[in-house]
C-alpha cells in the first residue's frame, strides 16, 4: 500500500537508536479559580516534572487513576494546552522551536480521544472527516478522498457503505474506527491514544485493539497508549509508565512491571483488578480511600498517605525515579524502599529480595 511505504524510513532522522519522543521536566499547573477576594494562587499540580522517552516503533503505555495527569500529559504532547515548563524533543528536534515548527510536528503526531462522538464534527461525513486534515495541508480534494477511502478500507469500514454517513449514524466502535482513520490520514509517525477503547463495549473493544496492533505493524507506527485498564495496557504496551498524582512512580518493560511491581502503588493497582476466579475472590481492598486532591498534594512521596509501608522519610523527602533495578532492562521506581541509602526501614529488605 502506498501509504505504508511512505511512513517511517524516509523521515527518520536520528536512526533507530534515537528515541522518537523524549520529554524532559514536563510541568503543567492549572490555577484554581478562587472567590472575589482572590486567594493565594492555589494550583492543581496536574503534571509535575515528568520525563520519559518513547523509542521508535514501540508502544509506551501510561496507566493511572483519574487525576494522575495521564490525559494532561497527552494534551501537552499534542500542544492542545501549553506547558509551563519542560522540553519535548521529536526525533531529536526541539518541538516549537525553529528546528521543528508546530505545523510539521502535528503532521507527524496525531491523537485519538476516548469520546468518539465528541471528537468528530457532526456536520462532516465520514469520508470528509478523514480527508479534512490532508486538505488543510494542501492535498487536492480528489486525492484526499481517494486516500480517505483507502484508510476507511484499512480500518474495516467499507467506503461505499460508510463514506457518506454522518457520525450519529455510526456505532461507538465504528466512530472510533473513523477517528483512527482520521489520525492516520496525515501519515503520522506517533499516535497518542487517550483511552481509545474505554467507552466501547467489551465485544467491540477487542476488535479495535486488534486493529490498532495491525495498523502499527503496517504503518510502522509508534504508540503512546493511555488507559486506566491494566489488562488493556499490558496487552498493548512494550513499556509501561505508572502515574500517581502528576508524578511518574514506576517505569519499565510491561512484563516486568506487571509481574514484579516495585512501587507499592503499582502493586495495589494490580491487586485491585477483579480476580476472575469465583473461588478466589479478593478479600481485602489493597488501598483505602480515594486518591488525594491534586491541589496541595501530600508532601514528600505523594503516595505516602495511602501506603502501608510509609515511614517518616516518605513524608519528608520526595523519592526520585531511581536507577535501573534490572540487569539490562530499564526498570525504574520512585520509592524510598528501592533506594538503600534513603533511610527507609524497608529499603534493606527490598534490596535483599532483588
Amino acid at each position: 500500500m502506498t501509504l505504508a511505504s511512505d511512513s517511517g524510513g524516509a523521515r527518520d532522522r536520528g536512526g533507530p537508536a534515537q528515541p522518537l519522543l523524549s520529554v524532559r521536566g514536563l510541568v503543567k499547573h492549572f490555577p484554581v479559580k478562587t472567590g472575589v477576594f482572590g486567594g493565594a494562587g492555589r494550583v492543581v499540580r496536574a503534571v509535575d516534572h515528568i520525563a520519559f522517552e518513547v523509542s521508535k516503533r514501540e508502544t509506551l503505555g501510561i496507566v493511572g487513576e483519574s487525576g494522575c495527569g495521564k490525559s494532561t500529559t497527552a494534551r501537552l504532547l499534542m500542544h492542545i494546552i501549553a506547558r509551563d515548563a519542560g522540553e519535548i524533543l521529536f526525533d531529536g528536534e526541539k518541538v516549537g522551536a525553529r528546528e521543528l515548527d508546530l505545523s510539521s510536528y502535528r503532521r507527524q503526531v496525531q491523537m485519538v480521544f476516548q469520546d468518539s462522538h465528541a471528537s468528530l464534527n457532526p456536520r462532516l461525513t465520514v469520508e470528509d472527516t478523514v480527508a479534512f486534515g490532508p486538505r488543510v495541508h494542501g492535498v487536492s480534494r480528489s486525492t484526499a478522498l481517494r486516500q480517505a477511502h483507502d484508510l476507511l478500507n484499512r480500518v474495516g469500514l467499507e467506503p461505499a457503505r460508510f463514506g457518506g454517513r454522518y457520525p450519529h449514524e455510526l456505532s461507538g466502535g465504528q466512530r472510533q474506527r473513523v477517528n483512527i482513520a482520521r489520525a492516520l490520514a496525515l501519515q503520522p509517525r506517533l499516535l497518542i491514544l487517550d483511552e481509545p477503547v474505554s467507552a466501547l463495549d467489551k465485544s467491540v473493544e477487542a476488535q479495535v485493539l486488534n486493529l490498532l496492533l495491525d495498523l502499527k505493524d503496517e504503518f510502522g507506527l509508534t504508540y503512546l497508549f493511555i488507559s486506566h485498564d491494566l489488562n488493556v495496557v499490558r496487552y498493548m504496551s512494550d513499556r509501561v509508565m505508572v502515574m500517581y498524582l502528576g508524578k511518574a512512580v514506576e517505569v519499565g518493560p510491561s512484563d516486568v512491571i506487571l509481574k514484579d511491581p516495585r512501587h507499592p502503588y503499582t502493586t495495589a493497582l494490580l491487586a485491585s483488578m477483579p480476580s476472575m476466579d469465583p473461588d478466589n475472590r479478593t478479600e481485602e481492598a489493597p488501598l483505602f480511600g480515594d486518591p488525594p486532591n491534586p491541589i496541595d498534594p501530600p508532601p514528600g512521596c505523594r503516595f505516602h498517605t495511602r501506603c502501608k509501608f510509609a515511614a517518616p522519610v516518605c513524608s519528608a523527602r520526595e523519592p526520585g525515579l531511581g536507577a535501573d533495578l534490572g540487569d539490562d532492562l530499564v526498570h525504574r521506581v520512585a520509592c524510598h524502599m528501592a533506594d538503600p541509602s534513603s533511610g527507609h526501614p524497608g529499603a534493606v529488605a527490598a534490596m535483599e529480595r532483588a
Binding site: 467489551k202 477487542a206 486506566h228 496487552y235 498493548m236 476472575m276 476466579d277
Partner: protein
Amino acid sequence: MSEAIVDVRGLTVEFSGPPPVRAVGGVDLTLVPGEVLALLGESGSGKSVTLRALMRLLPKRAAIGGTIRVDARDVRQMGAAELSAYRGSTIAMIFQEPGLAFDPVYSVGDQIAEAVVRHEGAAWAQGRRRALELFERVRIPSAARRLDSYPHEMSGGMRQRAMIALALSCRPKVLLADEPTTALDATVQIQILLLLRELQRELGLAVIFVTHDIGVATEIADRIAVMYAGRIVETGSCRAVIRACAHPYTQGLLASRAGQAFERGGRLQAIPGAPPDLSRLMPGCAFAPRCAKVRDACRSGLPAELPVGAGHVARCILLQKDPLASLSTV
C-alpha cells in the same frame, strides 16, 4: 430454599417510536433473599431497563408486559401511594453516578434523614441518628462531620458510599445496583465491591447487580445472568458461567478479554460485528449474525431455554442435540 423475593415472568418493555424499540423481549428472573444476581450485558442489552422496570422508574412511553412480583406483591398493579412506600422500604437502587442521584442543594445527611422521616414517620433527630449510623457502617471517615457535606464536596468513592447509605436507610429487602462501580477508579471500585458484599451478607439483602464487566460480576455474584439484545441468553451459578459457559456470546465475551491468558503480541479473539439495532430485530436468535457457530435453524425461531447443568441454562439451539459438544469448546 426459601421463597423467591423477586419473581419476574415474561417481562417485556417496549418504548414507543418512531421507531418503536423493544428494549426487553421476555425476561424471567427469580431471586431468593440473600442472593446476589449479576445481570451482565453490553450497552443496549436491556439490563438497566429491566432494573428500572422493577422499580417502576420507566417513562410513560415505555409499555411494560409480563408480571413483576417483589416480596409477594404485584409491582405492575401498584398505585402511586403504594409505589412510593414500596420504593425505598422494600426495594432500593444505587446508580452509576451518585453525583446525579443526590440533590445538590441539600446536605447528604439531611437527604438520608428525610428518607427515614418520610418512610418511617420518625422524628428528624432520629433520622439524623440513622444517617450517622449508616455513614459509619459504610465507613465514611469522620462520619459525623461528613453528614453536613454537600454531594459536590465528596470524592467519587465517598459519594458512592453515601448513596449506599441512602439506599439502605429504610431497610430494604432488595437492593438494585446499576453499574455502581463503573465510574470509579480501580482501587476505589474494589473497596465498594467488598463493602457491598459485606453489607449484603450482614443484612441478608437480595441484590441485582447490573454490570458490563465480567470481572466485577465474578467478584460479587452468586449467580450470573447474561443478557443480549433484551433477553437473558444464559443463567447459572457464577462458577458455572465463568468456567463452563455454554452460550457462544458468553464464550466470546470471555475469550475477547485483554489480559487474562493472553500474551502480548497475540491477537484477541474478538466477536465480529456490533450489537443489533433493537428497533429492527430479526426473527430467531439475536446473536446469530455475529455467531461463529451459526446454523440455518438459528435464524428461524427463538431458541428455548435449555439445561446445561444444575441450575445452569442457556438459550442456544446447539445445546439441543448434543449438550456435551458445546460444553467442550470452553
